[in-house]
C-alpha cells in the first residue's frame, strides 16, 4: 500500500507542478466565495480530463479504481498548493460515497461523475434550526404522496434545513427527512437525493462571521421528490448519515491538515525571527505533527479494517485545536494583520482566522466529542 501510494504521490506532484500555471487561481486574493467555487470547478474539470479525479473511485461510478487514499492524496496536494479551498473540495468525500453506498446503481453511475468532473455541485441537508448536535431530533418531514409508503411514486417534503454549505450553488442535495413518528429519533429518518431546482425549494444564504455566504437556510414547501431518489431504506436514513463519518474523519481531515501546514508555512515566510515567534510557531507545528500522525494512523486503520468509529472523535478534537492553533499563531505574530490590515493579505488572513473559530463547532462540537470519548472510549458509563 505505502509503495503504491508513494509512487502515485510522486507522479501526481510532478503533474501538478508541470501544470501549476493552468491550475493556479485566476482571481486576486482573497477572492470571493464565487471565485473559490468557480476555481474549484475549473480545477476539477482539468483534473477529470486528465484522469486524476477518477483515481480511487469505483469503476461502477466512472472511476478508475484503486484505494480511496488516492483521492485523499489528490485533495491534500491541491490544498497544499492553494489550488482549491480544502473545505469546499473535500465535500466530495461526504457526498459521493453516500450515493455509491445507498443510491440505486444507475443513479449513482449517472450522478457521481457530474460531481467529480465539476459539472455539478451538491450540498448536504442535515442540520436544522432545532437539530444541531442532536441530529436525531430533526423534523423536516417527508410523507408518501397518497399515503402509502410502499406504492407512492413521490414523496412530499416540508420543513427547513440550516448550515447547508454551498446550497445556493448546488444542483442536488442529500437530504435527511423525518418519515417516522415525531419522536422516532434515529429510527424514523429517511434520506433523499433531491434536485435543487424542484419547485418549492427556497435557498436563503446566511452571512458568516467572515462576510462570506458559504452556507444557507433551505426551505422546503410541498417539494415532490420521486420515490426512486430515496437513498437507502425507508427509515434507514440514520445509517446514511453515519456512513459519512469515516470519510469525513479520514480523507477530509487529511486534506484540512495539508491546508494547515501550508498556512503555517505562509506564516513563517513573513513572521519575525525571534524567540517569541519561535515558541508560537513551534507550538503550532508540534500540535500539527501530533494531529498528522494521528490522522495517518486512522487512515491506515480504515484501509486495513474497513471501519473506524468513535475513536475518530480524538481526531476531531485534534484537528479543531490544530486549526485554531495555526490561526492564533497568525494573530499573535502578525500584529494588526487580522485586526486592521485592509490589504489583500489582511483580508485573506482575517477571513481565514474568523473561519477557524468555527472549527470547534462544526462537524460535532468539541464538547460533544469529549462526551463521546468519555462514554465510548474511556467507558465511564452514562453521565445521567
Amino acid at each position: 500500500m505505502s509503495a503504491e501510494l508513494a509512487a502515485y504521490r510522486g507522479e501526481l506532484r510532478a503533474w501538478l507542478e508541470a501544470h501549476r500555471e493552468e491550475l493556479a487561481p485566476r482571481y486576486a486574493l482573497p477572492g470571493t466565495l464565487d471565485d473559490h467555487v468557480a476555481q474549484m470547478q475549473r480545477v476539477k474539470a482539468i483534473l477529470f480530463d486528465a484522469g486524476w479525479m477518477q483515481r480511487g473511485w469505483p469503476e461502477r461510478v466512472g472511476g478508475s479504481g484503486g484505494p480511496p487514499m488516492l483521492r485523499t492524496e489528490l485533495g491534500a496536494n491541491l490544498a497544499a498548493r492553494d489550488f482549491v479551498d480544502s473545505g469546499l473540495f473535500s465535500l466530495i468525500e461526504v457526498l459521493a460515497p453516500t450515493l455509491i453506498d445507498f443510491a440505486r446503481p444507475e443513479l449513482a453511475a449517472e450522478a457521481v461523475p457530474k460531481l467529480l468532473s465539476g459539472a455539478e455541485l451538491w450540498c448536504q441537508g442535515f442540520s436544522e434550526p432545532d437539530s444541531g448536535s442532536d441530529l436525531a431530533s430533526l423534523r423536516c418531514r417527508a410523507v408518501p404522496e397518497g399515503g402509502n409508503a410502499a406504492t407512492a411514486a413521490r414523496w412530499i417534503i416540508n420543513g427547513q434545513k440550516v448550515w447547508t454549505s454551498l446550497a445556493q450553488f448546488s444542483q442536488r442535495c442529500v437530504l435527511l427527512t423525518r418519515t417516522g413518528p415525531a419522536d422516532s429519533r434515529h429510527r424514523g429518518i429517511t434520506a433523499f437525493f433531491v434536485d435543487m431546482d424542484t419547485p418549492g425549494i427556497t435557498v436563503r444564504p446566511i452571512e458568516m462571521i467572515n462576510g462570506e455566504l458559504e452556507f444557507a437556510e433551505v426551505f422546503f414547501e410541498d417539494v415532490a421528490v420521486p420515490a426512486e431518489r430515496m437513498l437507502g431504506e425507508l427509515n434507514g436514513g440514520w445509517a446514511v448519515a453515519m456512513s459519512i463519518l469515516p470519510y469525513e474523519r479520514s480523507s477530509c481531515f487529511w486534506q484540512r491538515i495539508a491546508y494547515l501546514y501550508r498556512r503555517l508555512e505562509r506564516l513563517v515566510e513573513i513572521a519575525p525571527q525571534d524567540d517569541r515567534a519561535a515558541e508560537v510557531v513551534g507550538n503550532a507545528y508540534v500540535q500539527l505533527h501530533a494531529l498528522r500522525a494521528r490522522s495517518r494512523a486512522t487512515q491506515h486503520r480504515l484501509a486495513a479494517t474497513g471501519a473506524i468509529g468513535a475513536e475518530t472523535s480524538i481526531d476531531k478534537v485534534l484537528v479543531a485545536a490544530g486549526e485554531q492553533a495555526v490561526f492564533d499563531a497568525v494573530h499573535r505574530l502578525l500584529p494588526g494583520m487580522v485586526e486592521i490590515e485592509d490589504s489583500a493579505a489582511g483580508e485573506t488572513w482575517r477571513g481565514e482566522y474568523l473561519y477557524s473559530r468555527a472549527a470547534t463547532i462544526y462537524g460535532g462540537t468539541a464538547e460533544v466529542q469529549r462526551n463521546i470519548i468519555a462514554r465510548r472510549l474511556l467507558d465511564l458509563g452514562s453521565d445521567e
Binding site: 505505502s2 515558541e279 510557531v281 507550538n283 495517518r296 480524538i314 465511564l380 458509563g381 453521565d383
Partner: protein, 322 residues
C-alpha cells in the same frame, strides 16, 4: 525483526515481568537481562525500545536500559559494565567538551553509574565529535536526590583525555539521540497510560453527591482531554518508528512532554485529595515524569528549537506521508 505476533506476546510478557520485578522490589536490570533485552535490542531496536520502555514507564520501574540504547546506536558493545553519560538535564548537546587545555564533561547518568566500570562520553571538540571512555573511578559521581530519589539518576563530572578518543560520526550521534528520545517518550507514554487508568478507576469508584464523580461532565472532559493527548503521543511514536529521522524523534519527545503535563495536571485534579498524598501511587508517576521529561531536551526546549528552525528555513515540512 520480530513478527507482529511475537511483538504482541512480548509486550505482554515483558510488561508482566517488569511489573512483577517492581512489585518484588527486585533489580529490574537483572530482569531485563533474563528477558533477553540486549539480544532483542540488537535484533530489532524499534520493537525492543517500544516494548521495554513502555513497560518501564507503565510500572514506574528504575532501570538503565537507556545506556544500552545509546551504546548500541553509537556502535559499542553492550554490557552492564558500560554506562553512558547523557546530556545535561534539558539539553541534548554532547556532554563532553574539549576546547584546548580545558577538557571536561558533565551530564546525567542512569542507575548504571553506581555499578559500571566505565562511562562512555560523547564529546564536542569544536570541529568534530568523538567519544572517550572514562573510568568511573576517575569521575565524580553523585546521586541525584531531586524530586524523585528513586529514579536512579546521577550527576557525573569527569575530566576528558584529549587524546585517544574515537571519532564520532555526527549522524551516529543524531541517531543515538533520536532513539534515546523515542525511548524516553515511550517511557512517558507508558506512565501516562497508567496514570490515566488510575484516575479513571478513581473517578468510577469515588462517590460524592450520591454518585460516582465519573458522572460529572467536568471530570469526564478532563479525562477525555488526557486520552486525546495520550493517543496523539502513541501516534507520534508510531510515526517516528515508520519514518525515522531526528525530526520525527524530536517531535515525538516534545509531544511526550506535553502529554505528560496534560496527563499529570488533569489526572491529579481528578484524583484530588488522595492524589496529593503518598498513599496513592500517583505521586511516584508525577515525580518520575518530572525527572525524565527533561532528558534529551524538554518539550519546551525542543519546541523552541524547532520553531527557530522553521523560521530560519521559512519552510514547514510535513515529515510524514500517508
Amino acid at each position: 525483526m520480530i513478527t507482529a505476533n511475537e511483538r504482541a506476546a512480548m509486550t505482554e510478557s515483558v510488561g508482566a515481568a517488569i511489573a512483577d520485578a517492581v512489585a518484588r522490589s527486585a533489580n529490574v536490570d537483572a530482569t531485563l537481562a533474563e528477558l533477553g533485552w540486549r539480544e532483542l535490542l540488537a535484533d530489532d531496536p524499534d520493537a525492543a525500545v517500544e516494548i521495554v520502555f513502555t513497560a518501564l514507564g507503565s510500572a514506574n520501574a528504575t532501570a538503565s536500559a537507556l545506556d544500552d540504547v545509546l551504546a548500541a546506536t553509537l556502535g559499542f558493545e553492550l554490557g552492564a559494565d558500560l554506562a553512558i553519560l547523557l546530556p545535561n538535564f534539558a539539553s541534548w548537546a554532547p556532554p563532553g567538551r574539549i576546547d584546548g587545555s580545558h577538557s571536561h564533561a558533565h551530564g546525567i547518568a542512569t542507575c548504571r553509574a553506581a555499578t559500571a566500570a566505565e562511562i562512555l562520553v560523547a564529546c564536542d571538540n569544536e570541529s568534530a565529535l568523538n567519544t572517550s571512555m572514562v573510568s568511573v573511578a576517575a569521575a565524580e559521581v553523585t546521586v541525584v536526590r531531586g524530586v524523585d530519589p528513586d529514579a536512579g539518576l546521577h550527576f557525573v563530572r569527569c575530566p576528558i583525555e584529549t587524546k585517544g578518543g574515537r571519532p564520532l560520526d555526527p549522524a551516529a550521534w543524531q541517531s543515538a539521540l533520536a532513539l534515546g528520545r523515542r525511548a524516553v517518550a515511550y517511557q512517558i507514554a507508558g506512565a501516562c497510560r497508567t496514570v490515566l487508568n488510575l484516575a479513571r478507576t478513581h473517578a468510577l469508584d469515588r462517590m460524592q453527591f450520591g454518585r460516582p464523580i465519573a458522572r460529572f461532565q467536568a471530570v469526564r472532559h478532563k479525562l477525555a482531554e488526557v486520552l486525546v493527548a495520550v493517543e496523539s503521543l502513541d501516534a507520534a511514536l508510531a510515526a517516528a518508528g515508520d519514518t525515522p529521522s531526528p525530526e520525527t524523534a524530536a517531535l515525538a519527545k516534545a509531544i511526550a512532554g506535553r502529554t505528560a503535563y496534560t496527563t499529570a495536571k488533569h489526572c491529579q485534579q481528578v484524583l484530588a485529595g488522595i492524589g496529593f498524598t503518598t498513599e496513592h501511587q500517583f505521586h511516584r508517576y508525577l515525580k518520575r515524569i518530572l525527572a525524565f521529561e527533561g532528558l534529551f531536551g524538554s518539550a519546551d526546549a525542543i519546541t523552541h528549537d524547532i520553531g527557530h528552525r522553521l523560521l530560519a528555513e521559512r519552510r514547514v515540512p510535513t515529515l510524514i506521508e500517508l
